[in-house]
Amino acid sequence: MKNLRKIINGRAAVIGIPYLWLLALFFFPFLIVLKISFAEPIIAIPPYTSLLEWGDSFWPTIKASLDSYLFLLDDSLYINAYLSSLKIATISTLIALVIGYAIAYSIAKAPTRWRGILLMLVILPFWTSFLIRVYAWIGILKTEGLLNLLLISLGVIDKPLTIMNTDLAVYIGIVYSYLPFMILPLYANLEKMDFSLLEAAADLGCRPFKAFWTVTIPLSLPGILAGCFLVFIPAVGEFVIPDLLGGTQTLMIGKVLWMEFFSNRDWPVASAVAIILLAILVVPIMYYQKSQEKAIS
């Protein structure tokens, strides 16, 4: 009996250590963002009003203001930034899915002795700095960059294309940076697939394309969903890619939040931007969490 109690106490301690850490440094900070989003900006350190005010009475009065949220609704810049982030993330995710599926499918079909090396070639860029991989595209895409030099010397175009500082560059950047995140879950799923099912379909007179569409795609749906979430969710709030590759007219909410915080120093508005972004992403994040837990156990 004593032993059992010891084990149970030990169990609580083991759960408690990582739990308290995440509560203090992940969960608690969100409550503070929520709190500050209801404050008003002032010129002081820190630059926002406090929600509770102690006057003469024992109980503090609560001074919550919805100004930051009303401000976001009022200015079409913010709504457009949310919509354009969702659009850019959706299109990039779909492009990454098509490219990633072709690569993951081909790796899964490759001879076993090659698969390890091919997979490592996918993982290597996944571990390489995001910033460096985005930076690498600047030299390629800019007006006097390598892509234009190549196309002009091949005689494909006479005048350099303007790709750098446009939405197109942002699409290229997101697809390139997040492609490994798409390939890895797709491959994990396709690797387990029984390709003899396709032979069975072919034996029964099904054309390869139809077999792919009616057998392979439905079977790999969990991988497709996991890959899409892994690309879509962080891409919506992406900052580095639109900042370095996009132009002034490229609107993305991650960049707006950064500007609001670092340039305008309006902390309540930056907090409100973060809270609404979180509200948009909370459903996909929870769905992703559920599917991942199911996949692991």
């Binding site: 990582p18 079909k109 969710i233």
Partner: protein
């Protein structure tokens, strides 16, 4: 065994070309004599020499290494425990919130995580510096370690632990002597993953760092904003080389463990 079709071969070649050509170009132009990144002026290692005399970059690299080493070590400790809890502890009160806090940081936009941590540090009037960046990095890295360890633990045979416990071994000793050596490859790859995540992070470090704690990605970012230079290519090449070495070493450890 199915054979690779023309489509498979084409998509592999084009896919890997897309993934690697930008990195290869970046590396090649770090050895360019000319200051222009797009014009080849002959082979030279002068940009590496220039890098060595750039005190700002050296300071930033030192801060980054310190942060990466400390944060990945603590994150591996916390993440291993969290992975164990996720895989083997079944139901407990607050489990849904716990697994939410493990999975959410991996996909959540970095600007949100960075902003929330910064606002907390300000609200608690904690001075920003190397310490706060380290705390931030531990928090997101431990989630990756937890998932790596969790997926290893879910295929772990509990009967070995039960045998040790039946023979009078304490739970703690069982974990150290039996479980930990078996899941070691997952723990090591978790550490390596945390280390590179910390090495790479720009956004969260920008929010949580203070004066005197500029990390290498922050330094590179401020250089990139001023324009493309071969010096950035040189520092990038070194980072890419280090990561490649780490990944190859990591997979080697994994393979050796599997054979054993």
């Amino acid at each position: 065994m199915t054979r690779l079709t023309l489509f498979n071969k084409t998509s592999l070649i084009l896919g890997f070309a897309f993934l690697y050509i930008p990195i290869i170009i970046l590396i090649v132009f770090s050895f360019n004599e000319s200051k222009l990144v797009t014009v080849w002026g002959g082979f030279s290692t002068k940009w590496y020499g220039e890098l060595m005399s750039n005190q700002g970059i050296k300071d930033a690299a030192w801060v980054t290494l310190k942060v990466a080493f400390t944060s990945s070590t603590i994150a591996t400790f916390l993440g291993t425990i969290a992975g164990l809890v996720m895989a083997k502890f079944g139901r407990f009160r607050g489990r849904t919130l716990f697994s939410g806090m493990i999975y959410a940081p991996m996909v959540m936009p970095e600007v949100i995580i960075g902003l929330s941590l910064l606002l907390m540090f300000v609200a608690l009037s904690i001075d920003r510096g190397v310490m706060t960046v380290t705390l931030a990095h531990i928090t997101f890295s431990m989630c990756y370690v937890a998932v790596v360890v969790q997926s290893r633990m879910s295929s772990y045979d509990d009967s070995i632990n039960e045998a040790a416990l039946d023979l009078g071994c304490t739970p703690f000793k069982t974990f150290i002597l039996i479980t930990l050596p078996i899941i070691m490859p997952a723990v090591i790859s978790g550490w390596l993953l945390s280390f590179t995540l910390s090495l790479d992070d720009l956004v969260i470090a920008s929010f949580t760092s203070g004066p005197g704690s500029t990390t290498l990605p922050m330094k590179i970012y401020s250089m990139v904003r001023l324009g493309v230079t071969p010096e950035i290519n040189a520092v990038s090449t070194i980072l890419v080389g280090l990561v490649a070495l780490g990944v190859v070493a990591g997979s080697f450890i994994g393979k050796k463990q599997k054979i054993n």
